[in-house]
């Protein structure tokens, strides 16, 4: 029953962040439901996963600084500011849309 062990979500990068992810704005991901300690996967877990498994660019610090999403990058969970959803501790749900927007680029 593979479907029970995986959830699929959509991750989007804009505001210049797509540059770090093979110039692809949208990434459809199939993720395990539990982390290696048996806890449900969270946005914080997703950020690590993105760094380790998805990002081919070596400039990790453009995305994550000191263990946190870099200040100046907005995270929206289903269009809501992640601050309203518990930030990194938010447990991912099937078909979630997680958007990372950089505000650091030119205007």
């Amino acid at each position: 029953m593979a479907s029970e062990n995986n959830i699929s979500i959509l991750v989007e990068f804009t505001g210049g962040l797509e540059m770090l992810f093979s110039d692809e704005r949208k990434h459809k991901l199939s993720l395990p439901t539990k982390d290696n300690q048996g806890k449900p996967v969270t946005v914080g877990w997703l950020v690590d996963y993105l760094c380790e498994e998805v990002m081919k660019d070596s400039r990790k610090e453009m995305f994550v600084l000191d263990g946190h999403v870099r200040p100046g990058i907005l995270v929206l969970i289903n269009d809501a500011d992640w601050e309203l959803e518990g930030e990194a501790s938010y447990a991912l749900q099937p078909n979630d849309n997680i958007l990372f927007v950089s505000t650091l680029h030119g205007g």
Binding site: P71, A80, S102, G106
Partner: protein, 431 residues
């Protein structure tokens, strides 16, 4: 966790949490309050008068796109009676500006506004790609910033428009205040806080209606209104000092979101304490205007975000560096000269860009507190607080360096293009 409801309508799900007061809002209420606050800024500062023609400095990036969208909305909603035009600068950076200009062209259609594009190439005879080729990637942002500010004035003049608005936001202003604080440059700190620079008597005024708008909210506004904007970093290196100030601001925001507006307000309060003869800002008017910012030292023009928006202190560094480069390159040529003597003749004019351009004064401006007076550049005739404007100083340096490049290239047919550059330089000087 039950979704939070909007603090205003108490009906829809809250999607936004406002940095300045932690208010939780739904999409519709956020868009409404964001626009209402810009309207409030515009009306309380009497930024516009009915019938004004306004050029929006448009880069295709988030800030200027949001500015154009909001101004169009407010102009229609509150009958400002403004005639809005998009004004874009083409710095000549392949793969960056040409793409972003495509965005501006789409914006012109979406917002039904006329669009004027002016290029560094036509104004200065140099594209930024050529400038970088000549001087390298280290200080090109200074050139770009100085050229862009004047280019906006020139573009506005071509259109017969006397007021340019730019997309500078609260984060940008806070960043500039911090930079000037860290440099100990009180006059410039004071001027950088004004919402409008120049007054009725100036040829072109500049203002920043988004001065109190958080960058975060600008991005969210663009996202929720699905605005079409361009987001690729400029290909050339960012300025280290501004980059540090920016990181500082962003780190502060994470710990205390209100910090950004607090820095802006502190800057405004400090500005009030700076004597008029230092800033050139007239205190007797209720609305502060800065006389001396024709060179736009306090800020760049909404062009490339973290990059290219330098403040004047860097200009002094730049002039110093220019001179050092000149000296270094003349030493460099000496080695070549040992091989082929004809290059010897080049050496003299390469050393000559320096003091008369007001450099000595400039570097001291933070200490001596000399009053800057708005005049015109004696070379190009555009507004300047110096005898010769910064654009002309930089251009002179660039044009003088051309021969050196040609020695390296060693191509006889480059000569005609050098001549052409020189002619363009002359034409500029005359015009």
């Amino acid at each position: 966790m039950a979704p939070a409801l909007c603090a205003i309508c108490n009906d829809s799900r809250a999607l936004i949490i406002r940095p300045k007061n932690h208010q939780k809002l739904c999409k519709a209420c956020f868009i409404a309050i964001f626009e209402a606050e810009i309207h409030h800024t515009i009306t309380t500062t009497s930024l516009f008068s009915p019938g004004d023609r306004i050029a929006i400095g448009a880069s295709g990036g988030k800030d200027s796109t949001v500015l154009a969208s909001v101004l169009k909305t407010l102009n229609e909603r509150y009958n400002y009676g403004l005639d809005l035009v998009l004004l874009s600068i083409d710095e000549g950076i392949k793969g960056y500006r040409d793409d972003s200009l495509e965005t501006v062209k789409r914006n012109a259609v979406q917002y039904d506004m006329p669009l004027k594009i002016v290029g560094y190439d036509e104004l200065y005879g140099w594209t930024m790609d050529q400038v970088v080729e000549a001087i390298g990637k280290k200080s090109n942002c200074t050139y770009c910033g100085v050229f862009r500010r004047q280019a906006l004035d020139r573009g506005a003049k071509m259109l017969g428009i006397k007021h340019v608005v730019t997309g500078h936001n609260a984060d940008d202003v806070a960043e500039t205040i911090l930079m000037n604080l860290l440099r100990g440059d009180l006059p410039r700190l004071a001027r950088s806080t004004s919402i409008v620079t120049g007054d009725e008597s100036s040829e072109v005024r500049r203002s920043k209606p988004l001065k109190y708008a958080y960058e975060k909210e600008i991005v969210l506004y663009a996202h929720h209104k699905k605005l079409d904007y361009f987001t690729t970093e400029c290909l050339y290196s960012p300025e280290a000092f501004r980059g540090s100030a920016r990181s500082l601001i962003k780190n502060l925001e994470r710990v205390r979101p209100s910090a950004i507006l607090d820095v802006v307000r502190s800057g405004e309060d400090m500005a009030k304490l700076v004597p008029e003869q230092v800033t050139g800002i007239s205190q007797c008017k209720s609305q502060k205007v800065s006389l001396s910012s024709a060179d736009g030292e306090e800020e760049g023009a909404g062009g490339c975000g973290t990059n290219g928006r330098d403040s004047g202190g860097e200009m002094a560094d730049m002039e110093k560096k220019l001179k050092e480069d000149e000296e270094a390159s003349s030493r460099e040529v000496e080695i070549t000269a040992a091989v082929s003597s004809p290059t010897n003749g080049q050496r003299h004019d390469r050393i000559s860009i320096k003091p008369e351009s007001g450099k000595g004064k400039k570097q001291e401006s933070g200490r001596k507190l000399t009053r800057q007076v708005l005049g015109t550049c004696k070379k190009c005739g555009y507004m300047s607080s110096q005898e010769v404007c910064k654009a002309c100083v930089l251009l002179e340096g660039l044009n003088k360096n051309r021969p050196k490049m040609e020695i390296e290239v060693d191509a006889a047919d480059e000569e005609s293009s050098t001549l052409r550059r020189k002619m363009e330089g002359l034409a500029l000087a005359a015009g």
